[in-house]
């Protein structure tokens, strides 16, 4: 049976082209990956090259503090006869013109492109705080119920389908929903219901009127919360499911009630994952434009949410003596409309005439925005790493 080998190499490949196909497949996949990586790098580089000069300075303190600490303003660019451009704001324009005298040639105004972007940063921060607070509470509650309490069956299937669908809803739809639900019909306590109130329940000392919250941080935050809710529910449920069943069994076998079991031997070990995913939710909430367009964001606002024309609190007393007023003023922040970074960028890019000054403001805002979101994502990864090391089983 021992046939004499006719070839020196018993393992020689045949020439059916299998090697070529193998190489082709590998290269196709490799090229695809390279395109993805290159595009990502290109985006980052583009933003960095155009945005970094706006945000950073070559001298101390190396950061354009004006850009980060001032509210957006209209930029006045005054040109003299020699062709020099002098940039100033609305207040400085007259002085510059007077100084130039006959040397003055032309003046150009560019909306929103002067000053800084403190307003949008603050607005986005407030929106994120409200939306993540609401979404975490609702999302974690829903995830716990689905994962620990609900019985498997038709109903659970339907709820999951609903969550999946929620994730697929275009964000502008959420925006319109927020307009209808929160801006125009959400219930609030008022002394006197407004005319547009849908429905009012007199409670004696006050009236619960379904007249909406107006365009404000609260409306926008709640709308954004529903945008990120599916992400948080799905992620939280996965984190809960990842906690070994043995922990639940042991806890129950020791006589713990279901809630005790969840509270002491499921949630603590799922929390790291839930927090990590909620940070990613923050990045998502911060980045959405459409949901806040109708519910919270203004293109221009010359005050921060806490800067209102209210009489100052009496100077003699401490903050505690007027805590009621202090609290209501604090809560008042959330009933103000705000500027927000993504909407600000949209305004700069689509609502004003494009020129070099507008572009500068655009890329500066985008750069700051990207840095904020990237640092959130990075902190999420770091947090996960640290907590994973702490809770390993």
């Amino acid at each position: 049976m021992n046939s004499v080998p006719t070839n020196d190499n018993p393992f020689a490949g045949d020439n059916s082209g299998i090697q070529q196909r193998e190489t082709a497949a590998r290269w196709a996949l490799r090229v695809g990956s390279y395109i993805v990586v290159l595009t990502t790098v290109a985006i980052m580089l583009h933003i960095f090259v155009k945005g970094a000069p706006v945000v950073f300075r070559s001298q101390w303190p190396f950061v354009n503090t004006q850009f980060l600490t001032e509210l957006p303003a209209t930029l006045h660019v005054i040109e003299d006869q020699q062709g020099n451009h002098i940039e100033t704001d609305v207040n400085g324009a007259d002085a510059v013109k007077k100084k130039l005298g006959d040397n003055f040639r032309a003046e150009k105004t560019i909306s929103y492109s002067g000053g800084g972007i403190l307003g949008p940063i603050v607005g986005t921060a407030l929106l994120v705080v409200v939306s993540v607070g609401v979404a975490l509470f609702l999302g974690v509650a829903c995830a716990i119920y689905l994962s620990e309490y609900a019985k498997h069956g038709k109903f659970l299937e339907m709820v999951r389908l609903a969550i999946l669908n929620l994730a697929g809803v275009p964000s502008v739809v959420f925006g319109l929903f927020g307009l209808g639900a929160f801006v125009l019909t959400a219930p609030r306590f008022v002394a006197m219901p407004a005319e547009r109130s849908v429905f009012a329940i007199p409670l004696g000392f006050t009236t619960l009127s379904f007249e909406g919250w107006d365009t404000c941080v609260l409306s926008g935050g709640f709308t954004l919360a529903f945008v990120i809710l599916p992400v948080i529910i799905t992620a939280s449920e996965q984190c809960l499911q990842a906690v070994p069943q043995g922990f639940r069994e042991t806890s129950m076998a020791l006589g713990a009630t279901r809630w005790q079991t969840i509270r002491y031997s499921v949630l603590p070990f799922a929390t790291p994952g839930i927090l990590t995913s909620s940070i990613l939710g923050i990045a998502r909430a911060a980045g959405e434009t459409a949901p806040i367009m109708f519910t919270a964001a203004l293109a221009f606002k010359d005050k921060l949410p806490w800067q209102k024309d209210l009489p100052p609190l009496p100077a003699d007393a401490s903050i505690f003596a007027h805590w009621e007023q202090s609290v209501s003023r604090f809560l008042g922040i959330f009933t103000e409309s705000v500027q927000a970074l993504p909407y600000h960028i949209y305004t700069l890019a689509a609502k004003i005439p494009q020129n070099e000054y507008a572009e500068r403001a655009q890329y500066g805002s985008v750069f700051v925005f990207l840095v904020l979101v990237a640092s959130l994502a990075a902190s999420s990864v770091l947090l996960r790493k640290r907590l994973r090391a702490k809770y390993r089983w």
Partner: protein
């Protein structure tokens, strides 16, 4: 089945299973089980895989309640004379008094101290000195105190497999249960750790009543006073261990013990 005629001389069994049928949905897992577990004895449940010994064990603290559509369809389970399926039975109290150790050692990823104190804490014990005392007592019972007393705050997951399983035993006995159910507690352990836990079981029997599921017949011989042999959901034979192993009444038992299943 007859009630104890002379309650003074013979204490009632701590666990009594009477004519019990048990179903997972529509498939019957246990048929007409009768079992009496005496106080301060080690009772072993043996039998081939899938014979229902774990299911029977989990009937005693109603852990099967967690499984959807699993239920006792006939008969009753009495623990300390009380039918545990009665409406006025509080599951948390039942499980406090019928502790359980699982096949896979599963300490919580918390400190050793917190693991042992868990049962007491969920039952509302806040007094530090009571907890300290209980932790020391339980760890001593589980033969861990000497090894671990200096690092009670270390993470329980840093312990070896055998130590982890003994920690789980300590955790289960911290609430001072009357009955301790053990579901193949040594199946994932090396021989030396197994030996330690077997030694422990003799000690534990002084304080508690132990019911152990094992698929290791030598282990049943070594640790138990009574042995029940289950096969295909039926309790074939229940007798003092020595008797069952040396002189089985049933052909099936003999075949299983010899390893010659037909």
């Amino acid at each position: 089945m007859t009630p104890a005629t002379n309650p003074e001389s013979i204490p009632p069994p701590v666990v009594q299973v009477r004519d019990m049928d048990f179903c997972y949905g529509t498939s019957k897992a246990l048929f007409d089980i009768n079992l009496k577990v005496e106080y301060h004895r080690v009772t072993a449940l043996i039998g081939p895989s899938g014979c229902g010994k774990s299911t029977l064990l989990r009937c005693i603290n109603r852990m099967n309640d967690r499984v959807l559509s699993a239920r006792v369809t006939k008969g009753e389970v009495l623990v300390k004379g009380k039918n545990i399926h009665d409406a006025d039975v509080d599951l948390t109290q039942l499980r406090k008094q019928v502790g359980m150790v699982f096949q896979k050692s599963n300490p919580f990823p918390k400190s050793i101290y917190e693991n042992v104190a868990y049962g007491l804490r969920i039952h509302g014990e806040k007094n530090k000195s009571v907890l300290d005392e209980a932790v020391e007592r339980s760890l001593t019972h589980a033969a861990l105190w000497e090894e671990l007393k200096d690092r009670l705050n270390a993470n329980a997951l840093a312990l070896s497999g055998g130590q982890q399983q003994r920690l789980c035993i300590a955790r289960a006995i911290a609430t001072v249960p009357d009955v301790l159910l053990m579901d193949e507690p040594c199946s994932a352990l090396d021989p030396i750790s197994t030996l330690k836990i077997e030694e422990l079981m003799h000690q534990l029997a002084h304080e508690f009543t132990v019911v152990i599921v094992t698929h290791n017949m030598q282990q049943a011989v070594r640790v138990s006073d009574y042995t029940a042999f289950l096969h295909l959901g039926k309790l074939v034979e229940f007798a003092p261990t020595e008797e069952l192993f040396t002189n089985p009444r049933e052909k099936l038992t003999e075949a299983y013990l010899r390893g010659t299943f037909s």
